[in-house]
């Protein structure tokens, strides 16, 4: 619209140009082609309109509709998949928590069991060791008693021999025994009557 006056100015400027004397071909209505182009144009326009309306544009419309439907379906599928994934993630989290607490319980149970087992075993070991110790002590005291018994006999016989050599007469056996026992008791080695 703004260019219309400009074009008028231009036409005015061009007016003196000799070629313009022939006038504008657009206004040459004595040329039948000027109006004939309108009839041809009307026919072409109608054919163009009908082809675009009935054939060309519906082709575009169906593709656009298909795409819109496809996108909507994809979005729905994506939303459903997201819901599923969220549920699965929650499930996994819950499973992990359950597994963790289960493992914790199992570990503490195992530790308790191990402790109890250890305690029983060490008790048994202690008992066995004490029994062996007692047995050993018993054997030691028996051996000692045996050794001491032998010592008294040897001392009695030695004393009798010594007395017989010194005095030339055998010593009374009751006296020897009594003296040896008293001497041993005085040294604290064995009881008087053992």
């Amino acid at each position: 619209m703004r260019r219309f006056p400009a074009s008028l100015v231009l036409l005015a400027l061009l007016a003196p140009v000799p070629a313009l004397a022939n006038g504008m071909p657009q206004l040459a209505f004595n040329n039948p082609l000027t109006l004939d182009q309108v009839w041809w144009g009307a026919g072409i326009f109608v054919v163009f309109l009908l082809l675009a309306w009935k054939w060309g544009l519906p082709r575009v419309a169906t593709v656009l509709e298909d795409r819109a439907a496809h996108i909507a379906a994809d979005l729905d599928a994506a939303r459903a998949a997201k819901a599923t994934a969220d549920a699965a993630a929650a499930e996994v989290t819950a499973a992990i928590a359950a597994a963790r607490s289960e493992a914790q319980t199992a570990i503490s149970a195992a530790v308790e069991a191990a402790k109890a087992d250890e305690a029983t075993r060490s008790a048994a070991l202690n008992a066995r060791l004490e029994a062996q110790l007692a047995q050993a002590e018993q054997q030691i005291s028996a051996a000692r008693a045996a050794a001491l018994g032998a010592l008294r006999q040897v001392a009695g016989e030695t004393a009798a021999t010594v007395v017989a050599r010194l005095t030339g007469a055998p010593a009374p056996p009751g006296r020897i025994d009594q003296e040896v026992a008293a001497a041993l008791a005085a040294r604290g080695i064995v009881e008087s009557h053992a």
Partner: protein, 248 residues
């Protein structure tokens, strides 16, 4: 073109073409109309042939054109605009390709003929009037009676409204015709300058180069005008249809 004489208007002259067809009034103008319609249908036909979910270049072009005109219709006319979409689409692409093809050298610009643009405008005005009458019956004529005006002024205002309604025939057709013609005259004039100055010897070379530069810029400008004027024609058609459907 003879030197010293600028023949800016012979480019608009019509010549009969194709022998027998030419005798039936076929000239460059109907040829370019057919090419414009054919190119549009080709884009729709070939472009949409893959029916691809992710469109290629030509399909994207077809969809772009479709959605551009569709949105123009539904936004300007309203819900009812969809019914007029095929007509507006055809009209817009007919003019758009007519304008764009005209920028090519040796091609003919049928939108530079007032007979063609006036015929298109008559179609638009008759269509809007028929649509208005069909929807609103006789109530349609209230369109010419402005609201909230003293009754005393009506004898003055109603003729003005009718005149402004009829002036659409002139404004719509002359706007397109004058824009296209002016652009092509300017291209021709500056093109002639290049030849005349370039042939005038060493001194003329610089101005000839300038004129060539101007013409280069003008080509870009003409491409803009070609698209803009097609858009203006289509959007005004939509506005007139909106008026016919909604009565203001």
């Amino acid at each position: 073109m003879a030197a010293g004489k600028i023949d800016a208007l012979s480019q608009f002259a019509l010549h009969p073409m194709f022998g027998e067809l030419g005798r039936m009034g076929f000239s460059q103008s109907p040829l370019m109309m057919a090419v414009a319609a054919g190119l549009t249908l080709l884009i729709l036909g070939v472009g949409m042939a893959p029916r691809a979910m992710v469109p290629g270049r030509l399909q994207a072009a077809a969809e772009l054109l479709y959605e551009f005109v569709y949105n123009m219709c539904s936004e300007t006319i309203g819900e009812e605009g969809r019914r007029f979409f095929p007509f507006v689409f055809t009209l817009f692409l007919f003019i758009l390709f007519g304008n764009l093809l005209g920028v090519f050298p040796y091609f003919f610009t049928f939108t530079s003929h007032i007979a063609v643009t006036l015929a298109l405008t008559i179609v638009v005005v008759v269509l809007t009037t028929v649509v208005g009458l069909a929807i609103h019956k006789l109530h349609f004529f209230s369109y010419f009676v402005p609201e909230g005006v003293p009754k005393l002024l009506l004898p003055l205002l109603v003729p003005i409204e009718i005149l402004s309604y009829l002036s659409r025939l002139i404004s719509l057709s002359v706007r397109l015709f004058a824009n296209m013609m002016a652009g092509h005259v300017m291209l021709e004039v500056f093109g002639a300058f290049v030849i005349m100055l370039g042939g005038a010897g060493l001194l003329g070379l610089l101005p000839a180069g300038l004129a060539l530069g101007v013409n280069t810029v003008l080509i870009g400008f003409e491409l803009l005008v070609a698209v803009l004027q097609a858009y203006v024609f289509a959007i005004l058609t939509c506005i007139y249809l909106h008026d016919a459907v909604h009565l203001h």
